[in-house]
Symmetry: C2
Subunit: 289 residues, 2 copies
């Protein structure tokens, strides 16, 4: 495969959905996504159930997902406690969100970026490579995070034991020129540890930023089925980039994702059923025959 699409819908999507999805529906959805050819799925968030009750079943969801042949099971963990739960659930990978913006970091995980790096260090020591510890640097493209600081953070995270460090456009403010420049620089700073691109479509720039990241040599992209979890300001203002549209683009460009677009689109029916009233986004779905 040329490109790895890491499906974040069950985490980033459901975390922001209007209602909680039942555990059985989560499993059905994840199984359908895997059957469509998605090889990596972020199944939930190992945070306190008090903070995110809709993610309280993540351990169980992860254990069930582990039964799916060939699927890499990823879960978000904000701290050492989350890492312990991830080890117990047998996930393959843990994804730590480390914010470049100090304000966002405090708001999101009540830690400074430096404290978050320390959590990554302790977690990586605990995990010993199983699960693998990955990091997406949140708000990496925001104005209050200088590029130098983001690169410093990436280097610190590698030193702390992160197997890969990607850049996340949490607030949907990145532009293609910036994306290309920063991913090229990231690769120069941390070499093969340069990780995934995570784009939000808040300003409609998601796929444009993917084109720029491809130019910079990025081969792993986060995306969410139906752009689930967006906080729409306007028609079409989705959250994460839409997996279906991303697959169409990459395959049309001659890149291989291993994903069957027909099966992927069919999996939207589970969402429509399990999350009534939730807006399902995407352009390709209406044109696909």
């Amino acid at each position: 495969m040329d490109i790895l699409i890491s499906e974040v819908g069950p985490r980033d999507g459901l975390q922001n959905a209007k209602r909680a999805m039942a555990t059985a529906d989560k499993h059905r959805w994840i199984a359908a996504l895997a059957a469509a050819g998605l090889r990596e799925i972020e199944v939930g968030s190992l945070v306190s159930p008090k903070l995110l009750p809709q993610m309280a079943d993540t351990d169980e969801v992860a254990r069930q997902a582990r039964q799916i042949d060939g699927l890499t099971v990823l879960a978000l963990a904000p701290n050492l406690k989350g890492a312990e739960r991830g080890i117990a659930a047998g996930v393959h990978k843990l994804n730590f969100p480390v914010s470049a913006s100090r304000t966002h970091s405090m708001a999101n995980i009540r830690m400074t970026p430096e404290q978050a790096v320390e959590q990554v260090r302790q977690s990586a020591e605990l995990c010993k490579g199983n699960p693998v510890v990955e990091v997406g640097i949140s708000t990496a493209f925001d104005a209050d995070a200088s590029e130098d600081w983001v690169m410093q953070l990436a280097a610190d995270l590698v030193a702390a034991g992160a197997a890969s460090v990607g850049l996340s456009d949490t607030t949907g403010v990145a532009n293609p020129a910036q994306v290309k420049r920063m991913f090229i620089r990231l690769r120069r700073e941390i070499g093969d540890r340069a990780g995934a691109a995570h784009f939000h479509n808040t300003r409609g720039q998601g796929l444009a930023n993917v084109v720029a990241a491809l130019d910079a040599g990025v081969t792993t992209f986060d995306a969410s089925q139906a752009g689930l979890g967006g906080c729409p300001y306007a028609p079409g203002a989705t959250g994460n980039i839409v997996t279906e549209d991303l697959v169409w683009m990459l395959e049309s460009m001659g890149l291989r994702t291993g994903i069957d677009l027909g099966l992927l689109i069919a999996a939207r029916a589970i969402l429509a059923e399990a999350l009534p009233g939730e807006a399902l986004y995407g352009h390709v779905v209406g044109t696909f025959q």
Copy 2:
């Protein structure tokens, strides 16, 4: 300016809108777009009023638009008759649609591509450079038009007197790899006569294709305010790429469009008022402060 955005809303948008816009509203809208910094606007289509009654006032709209200082007034003309009307109305440029796909050509203008080239030749002879004759090759990225044929058509059009020849993704099927390859080739074939990129957002690929076209050296892009005129299959499935989102992207990349995004967004109010019930698309609008 680095980039020329050619606003096609009053033509491509209104041609496909659910109801006709009143002539006075068209003028008000065009004036607001020009005041926001758009330097070129396609104000209508010089076709038979029987075919497109909503475009019947194009001559009058063009004459009024000619009064706006610094604005390049463009109108679509499918044939010699349209060219005659364009000359009489005093437009600066005439845009001829020549389809690469034979099927689309017959359906759209009841001519073969070769007959359309002949109309361009006769019109260019008639116009003698005033107005300038431009061509966008419709369906240039469709499977039933080979790249060799599109390039042959571009060369024939230049020989017929077209001042510029661009490539139009009429059906929204283009992908970034194809866009980059074909615009590079177009420039190799016809040099400085290589013209505008015209993308539709049917599959959500519009801005991604702009990034690819920028890479290929394209500096003129068609776009439509609010993505007007789309035939939506799904939420967000707009027609033309959204001018507002395009301006945000280009300006964020450090390119200059000369457009004031605040004034541009304010002009949407005219659309909302003049075309009640029409879907207005765009992502940036909801985030702009």
